[in-house]
């Protein structure tokens, strides 16, 4: 049963300033958090598995892991946790916050890009050694393609190799036959994806059909 007097909004105000969401959006996310966590204060991996749309997503494990990955909590920590609080949930979500692009300077846009790409990089680089190795890359390709059985593991491996080759050719240029390509570093990652408009393609757009509470 709800209470007649609502919870103080100051906590949400702090979060709003910290993460860049508006207070209304924080309210919405809070409701969603409570819905997913069954009215508890902490969210676990299992709670994400209850979302049917997410269960259909081929890379759902990586997406869910990203929420429990300390690198995404903006506190310069590493490792992973078992449960997250609402604050951490919103901090991870803030990587996808809607951005007022026309209001930003070039520097801010660049910073935003780096932030979003860092999030995606972390999603691939599971052992946090700073590079996406072929193994990790292959893992992603397999998740996306091979389990359905339409493509065998060998093909998936081949696709991963091809993609790595292409990455290498873009970033490092022509390689000597003896060179060993270790993996994609964050700078390479940025270089490959520098033409894609990450800022516009990687955020959630909240609907604006607000109505006065009547």
């Amino acid at each position: 049963m709800g209470t007649l007097f609502s919870a103080p909004d100051d906590h949400f105000q702090d979060l709003s300033e910290k993460t860049g969401f508006s207070p209304e959006q924080i309210q919405i996310l809070h409701k969603r958090f409570k819905q997913l966590s069954n009215e508890e204060d902490l969210l676990r991996r299992d709670d994400f598995n209850n979302i049917p749309d997410l269960a259909c997503n081929p890379i759902r494990t990586q997406i869910i892991e990203a929420f429990f990955d300390k690198r995404n909590f903006r506190q310069n920590a590493v490792g992973s946790v078992e449960e997250i609080s609402f604050e951490q949930f919103v901090v991870v979500m803030s990587h996808f916050r809607p951005v007022p692009l026309h209001n930003m300077t070039e520097e801010q846009r660049e910073r935003m890009r780096r932030e979003k790409l860092r999030f995606l990089f972390n999603m691939h680089d599971t052992d946090n050694d700073g590079t996406i190795t072929l193994e990790e890359y292959k893992h992603v390709v397999e998740e996306l393609l091979s389990r359905s059985g339409a493509i065998g593991k060998e093909t998936a491996k081949g696709i991963a190799d091809a993609a790595m080759l292409e990455v290498a050719s873009i970033t490092v240029g022509r390689m000597n036959p003896e060179d060993f390509y270790e993996g994609i570093t964050f700078d390479h990652f940025l270089k490959i994806l520098k033409d894609i408009e990450i800022e516009t393609k990687m955020h959630i757009r909240f609907q604006n059909n607000a109505c006065a509470l009547c």
């Binding site: 049963m1 709800g2 007649l4 007097f5 609502s6 209304e24 996310l29 969603r32 819905q35 994400f48 979302i51 049917p52 749309d53 997410l54 269960a55 259909c56 997503n57 081929p58 890379i59 997406i63 996808f96 995606l120 691939h124 992603v140 996306l144 393609l145 091979s146 389990r147 359905s148 339409a150 493509i151 065998g152 060998e154 093909t155 081949g158 696709i159 991963a160 190799d161 091809a162 993609a163 080759l165 292409e166 990455v167 390689m175 036959p177 003896e178 060993f180 033409d195 894609i196 990450i198 393609k201 990687m202 959630i204 757009r205 909240f206 609907q207 059909n209 109505c211 006065a212 509470l213």
Partner: protein
């Protein structure tokens, strides 16, 4: 002391006679004295007044809240192909089809995050959010303290609901159930004469009408010319166990269900003596053929009452209709669809079985303002030639959703308790991989069934280099660039 007892007894007698005269008797014969109408009018006026007060207050404070019923976020409606194509086009080097690139991952990541923020299904398993407060404590999630007058009205409402209405309703429900059990047992004693079925219908109707008054249910039936006839199957969307009372107020149905113990069991056993309901033992429920056969036999007899089935299988929160299980549609016979829509303003009828058990649910029902609902009888539908049960089920579902103003979802209501099957995930993977690989043989999958080695050297990486996957099965090493992975063996 005795005087006190005396007065209490007198009061109780007066109370009982009042209840019987004013509520029970009219209910039994289907006439209304107009008391409920007056009550509803007062209620509506009060709620409107409360709404205006809250609105005025909020305008002063400039609070704007978003509605949650239509979805919180905007999504792109494009298909997987369109979106990934759009992502890839931003690159200057146009990539031919059949290539996997890093940016494809973004599409899935964004979709994943979007579904974490808002998805169509999870919200259906909890009560619907109200746009304006209806002066019940239980629906007060986001509503702030407004004014003293409002709080006083709310307090008054609590007193009325808990101290006046609830005892009244509990009394009525008690009388209703007792009458049902005794009445049907009495009728069951009669031999099989034509009067028996008429009597049993009368008894059933009376009891359900009393029970409906016990919930202060105001039901409006629309399109009564389409009311289900004997020998058919009636299907409806499911929101709560009260649906049975709502529907059975108008005509008598043959219920289908599992045999329970306790009070439910007593009711079931006595009811089946009077008219042929279909109750299954728990063990019989597992045998689908047995269930289907029994239902088929029942339907084949055109004189028997129509069966009432809820194909969703579980309670949904009345904002949407979920997948109809095809079992009920394979039996044959005419289907009479019925749409039930509750008005959440007066009381939330949804039974969140995870959160509340049956008793606390019924108590909540009895302490709401009222249950107001609309029932639409839809024209009968039959399975067409060559139509399979699944297609027929979704056709019926669409008709019900359309009439009731509910969202038509094809997700299974069983997701309330179970997880999504892996096959759905595999479908997404298949879709994506067919995009990468191509459905024709120009992609990776060549003409031979090994799948990997194409017959020409175009392979994966366009037609320039001889492709990563050369003709040998080690797969990686090609003539010029060796050692992507450090396999230094020569080709």
């Amino acid at each position: 002391m005795e005087e006190v007892w005396g007065t209490i007894l007198v009061l109780l007698r007066v109370w009982f006679t009042a209840v019987v005269l004013l509520i029970m008797l009219p209910a039994m014969f289907g006439i209304s004295l107009g008391i409920t109408e007056v009550y509803m009018k007062i209620l509506v006026k009060t709620l409107e007044w409360a709404t205006l007060r809250i609105q005025k207050h909020n305008r002063r404070q400039d609070l704007i809240k978003a509605t949650v019923t239509n979805g919180i976020i905007q999504r792109d409606d494009g298909s997987m192909e369109q979106e990934i194509g759009a992502l890839r086009q931003s690159r200057p080097t146009s990539l031919s089809r059949g290539k996997f690139t890093l940016c494809d991952v973004f599409y899935f990541t964004r979709k994943g995050i979007e579904s974490i923020v808002d998805d169509e299904v999870t919200q259906r398993f909890s009560s619907e959010e109200l746009v304006s407060w209806n002066l019940l404590t239980r629906t007060n999630n986001n509503f702030h303290y407004i004014s003293l007058r409002l709080t006083v009205i709310w307090g008054l409402g609590v007193v009325i609901r808990y101290c006046v209405l609830a005892p009244l309703r509990i009394t009525l429900a008690f009388i209703g159930i007792t009458w049902l059990v005794t009445g049907t047992s009495l009728v069951g004693l009669l031999p099989d004469i034509s009067v028996k079925s008429w009597l049993s219908e009368l008894v059933h109707l009376m009891c359900y009408r009393i029970c409906a008054r016990g919930l202060s249910a105001t039901i409006r039936y629309h399109n009564k010319e389409n009311i289900p006839k004997n020998g058919g199957i009636c299907v409806a969307n499911h929101t709560s166990p009260i649906d049975i009372v709502i529907l059975a107020n108008d005509r008598c149905y043959a219920m289908v269900g599992q045999v329970h113990g306790g009070l439910m069991g007593i009711i079931q056993r006595s009811a089946v003596r009077a008219c042929p309901h279909v109750w299954f033992e728990r063990s019989e429920m597992k045998d689908r053929h047995l269930v289907a056969k029994r239902l088929r036999d029942h339907v084949a007899d055109k004189t028997k009452l129509p069966i009432l089935i809820f194909p969703e299988g579980t309670c949904i929160n009345n904002t949407s209709v979920m997948m109809f299980k095809k079992g009920s549609f394979e039996i044959g016979g005419t289907i009479y669809p019925v749409a039930i829509k509750y008005d959440p303003q007066f009381g939330d009828a949804f039974w969140n079985s995870g959160k509340y058990n049956m008793v606390s649910y019924l108590l909540r029902m009895m302490t709401s303002w009222a249950i107001v609902c609309n029932v639409w009888y839809l024209p009968p539908m039959e399975r067409q030639e060559g139509e399979d049960a699944v297609h027929f089920a979704s056709r019926v579902k669409a008709a019900i959703a359309h009439q009731g103003g509910l969202v038509d979802l094809s997700w299974d209501g069983g997701l309330k308790r179970a997880k999504v099957k892996d096959t759905y995930r595999e479908q997404e993977q298949k879709k994506y991989s067919s995009m990468i690989v191509g459905d024709d043989s120009s992609g990776i999958v060549g003409d031979d069934s090994s799948g990997i080695v194409g017959d020409d050297s175009s392979g994966i990486v366009g037609d320039d280099s001889s492709g990563i996957i050369g003709d040998d099965s080690s797969g990686i090493v090609v003539d010029n660039t060796s050692g992507i992975v450090g396999h230094k063996s020569s080709s």
